[in-house]
Amino acid sequence: MKHDNKPSTTESLSKALIHQHGLSDEEYQAILAHLGREPNLTELGVFSVMWSEHCSYKSSRIHLKRFPTEGPRVVQGPGENAGAVDIGDGLAAVFKMESHNHPSFIEPFQGAATGVGGILRDIFTMGARPIALLDSLRFGELDHAKNRHLLQGVVSGISFYGNCIGVPTVGGEITFNDIYSKNPLVNVFCLGIVEKDRLLKGLAQGEGNLVLYIGAKTGRDGIHGATMASDSFDDASEKKRPNVQVGDPFLEKLLLEACLEFLEQDLLIGIQDMGAAGLTSSSCEMAARSGTGIELDVALVPRRESGMTPYEILLSESQERMLLVAKPGKQDAVLAICHKWGIDAAVVGKVTNDGLLRIKDGTQTVAEIPAKALAEEGPRYDRPAAPPSYQDSLQSLNLDMLPDVKNPDEVLIALLGSPTIASKAWVFRQYDYMVGTNTVVCPGSDAAVVRLKGTQKSLAITTDGNSRYCLLNPHMGGSLAVAEAARNLVCSGAEPIGVTDCLNFGNPERPDIMWQFVMAVEGIADACRALNIPVVSGNVSFYNETNGLSIYPTPILGMVGLIDAPEHITTQWFKQAGDHILLLGQTNEDLGGSEYLKVIHAREQGIIPWLDLEVEQRLHRCLLELIRQGWIQSAHDCSEGGLLVTLAECCITSPLAPLGAQITIPPHRIRLDGVLFGESPSRAVISVKPEHLDAVREAIVQAGVPLTDLGRVTSSSFDVTIQQAAPVSPICFSLPGSHLADIWKHSLAKQLDGDE
């Protein structure tokens, strides 16, 4: 018997209830127009999550169009679970980065753990086996116990999930600033590999094909998580702890292996992770992408607790669940694989041709909404944007008011021990960064490098972003982040081939925040276009503010580069005493926004470095040429902390014993602190064997890249002579390499373990 009953709309919804769902009056009017009637409570809930900022990108979507998303290597651009680029040998690299900021502040361990779980599912739903994770973290300064607690919780959570599922955490970065004390950032990047022509997508094609639910049973956890992530925080936010989900990496490991078996046996039309907004978003997005409809019966959904309403089942964000559409006649094979791995699975619906998301509870229809209205036709806002009133004062800094550096050795030591620059080994050694036996360059160099077994190739991966730069100049800050990420890859011997972004900002309803966002997006887009690096996926996280205090604008980039041959893999540390040390690039008085100004002078002000994208590109071409010729021993991007910190890092960051250097800084026309600690972009420090020096010098000059000879690598002490314009006598200092190494290696552990 056919039950063609319409969802009941007997109760009229109060205005308060509508607002409680985070929907504005205009948005509610739009819902009425889409439905041609009033929604019932279930439908209201479904609209509220799908039209939340987190799911709909309503404030950001029109701006994200500026990103270059195409290129000869792009296999899948933005809009799918993750982006994909062609890496040759019939393979594609699939990658994406996502934020899990709000949950991680409320409950750092589970918040970070489920962030890892979510991004992994985005990758293996594409049919790719995840082979690398990276994390970009931002915390308040570690002298506050709460910040240490948050860091420890987040690191344990990442370690718990990533280690168990057996995907190595190979890199990432962490920086500290008190602006993140009440709103830490947890951005997680994942990369996987798939045969290019077997890429899976989130599609629901073919009327009558069966829709299957697999994975964890649905509980009441995480209901309205997406709505929570679309709101600011206040002191009462801790009460939202029940909104944070709990992760089960073991179950996800089973799910991962089962999904890769589906792919192997070619059983699926499409598959999608149930992430934010759970069953609702996965079903309506799959239908909307395919121009079809989906009919689901919530009574068939495996549940963890009894008495759940359709509203709760639809909006639950229980982790480790997938929705998939099987090829005709293949559902039994899918169920058999699930049985083998001990995973719950059920047929819960079918694909229809009416374009509707129809939800039934047994025979009763409880919701019926056009899928496209939810997934694609949500609100779009061109929100007002204007620079904040304080922008000019941020940029104005009279350097003449600050004394120039007198004792550069003391400043060097202070910078090497500052948590943003100090070694992150305390963190990394809690992550399994080797499982998979592909990690060729472990955490601690400019980029992580993973090899691709069965080929000659490797991929270099980095995450980067400098939020202080973005605060002072969001447009240039966005471009500088792209340039630094690309430079890190190039220094590792890789050609950048694609980028994903995670854009962390405050409340977009504030014009100053929106201005930061628009400027940063433009800056990123400009640099990606100039350097020919397509943006293939990404994520926007707004409302990163607590009690009205917004974080610094923090766009983070996750960039991937391709290394053609194992001998091109290059690391940042010096290799051998006697090698020559060269600086490529021009040093200007770029102290504005520098780590030096923050750590030594407690200023976060000034004009940030100017990036010339042509100069940057020239440097990249030159470095890649030198590396491919086999002429250089090491290459290190010169960035946070400036030249002197970079040189010290070249000596002490090797996994083997530290080396030293005999450095001579030639006479200079700018402030000495600018020479030593300024952060001019488009620079790198390389080391070269004596027999290659002439060829290297010639190639650099030919490439039109400024070149400075700085000295030689030595076996132990870090000796620096800073020549001054005559008649001033040079400044000289000498520090044992082992002393610098001790400070750099143990600084973070001292701050964190002193907490016990």
Binding site: C164, D248, F250, L251, L254, T439, P566
Partner: protein, 237 residues
């Protein structure tokens, strides 16, 4: 030579071990699902690392109840070579194939890093390509590798030369700081009394290739192959 690699739900070094067995030491590697009851024709068995059943209970506590473990025990009893790495070592302890138990690491957190171990007995099927006292650099990656056993068992392990690897520093000295997890007597790996079952916390499969900048782990696999070849020659006579 056929090397069987047992896959438990949650094993995650199974593919790494298979890669070393096939692509690095050139033998045939086969996965054996934990629900199987027979190993098939195998010359050696590896219980790989990972988080079997999520290790939500005691590490290895559920995996040792898997149907395949009866076949592994029978294989071991007949003198077959069994290598348990990390979680595989923990499963060997739970199944009684090796004595003792694992506690949480001394520092209570997961540790992934390269450590040094000293080869205490170079006359085993797993170390015959090493020389006595040789220091190997092999990575660890575990939260529960703090080996413990009672004093009587410890004495018998020591007396029978069953301690195969001890944590040490680069110069071969075992000190407090060179022990990454607090294990009793710096134990990193032990074998059974018969000598054919080895459990070790460090991961030799992670350092068996030049591409990974470390080949010390290769010696363990090379030793197994050498031992099996010798055995095969003896049987042929």
């Amino acid at each position: 030579m056929n090397i069987g690699i047992v896959v438990f739900p949650g094993s995650n070094c199974d593919r790494d071990c298979a890669y070393v067995a096939s692509d690095v030491i050139g033998q045939s590697a086969q996965f054996i699902w934990h629900q199987e009851t027979s190993l098939g024709e195998m010359d050696a068995i590896i219980l790989p690392g990972g988080f079997s059943y999520g290790d939500y209970l005691r590490t290895g506590a559920i995996a040792h109840l898997s149907p395949i473990m009866d076949a592994v025990k029978a294989f071991a009893k007949q003198g077959g070579l069994v290598l348990g790495i990390c979680n595989g070592f923990q499963i060997l302890l739970e199944s009684g194939l090796l004595p003792g138990a694992m506690l949480r690491n001394r520092g209570l957190s997961f540790r992934c890093e390269e450590v040094y171990v000293r080869v205490e007995n170079a006359e085993t099927p797993f170390t015959n390509q090493c020389h006595p006292g040789q220091v190997l650099k092999i990575p660890i990656a575990h939260a529960e590798g703090n080996y413990y056993t009672d004093p009587v068992t410890l004495s018998s392990l020591q007396a029978n030369a069953q301690v195969i690897f001890r944590y040490c520093d680069a110069d071969g000295q075992s000190t407090g700081p060179s022990n990454p997890n607090g294990s009793l007597d710096h134990i990193a790996g032990i074998r059974n009394a018969a000598g054919n079952v080895l459990g070790m916390m460090p991961h030799p499969e992670r350092c068996a290739e030049r591409a990974l900048n470390n080949t010390d782990g290769f010696l363990v696999f090379q030793s197994m192959v050498a031992s099996l070849k010798t055995q095969a020659r003896l049987t042929a006579r």
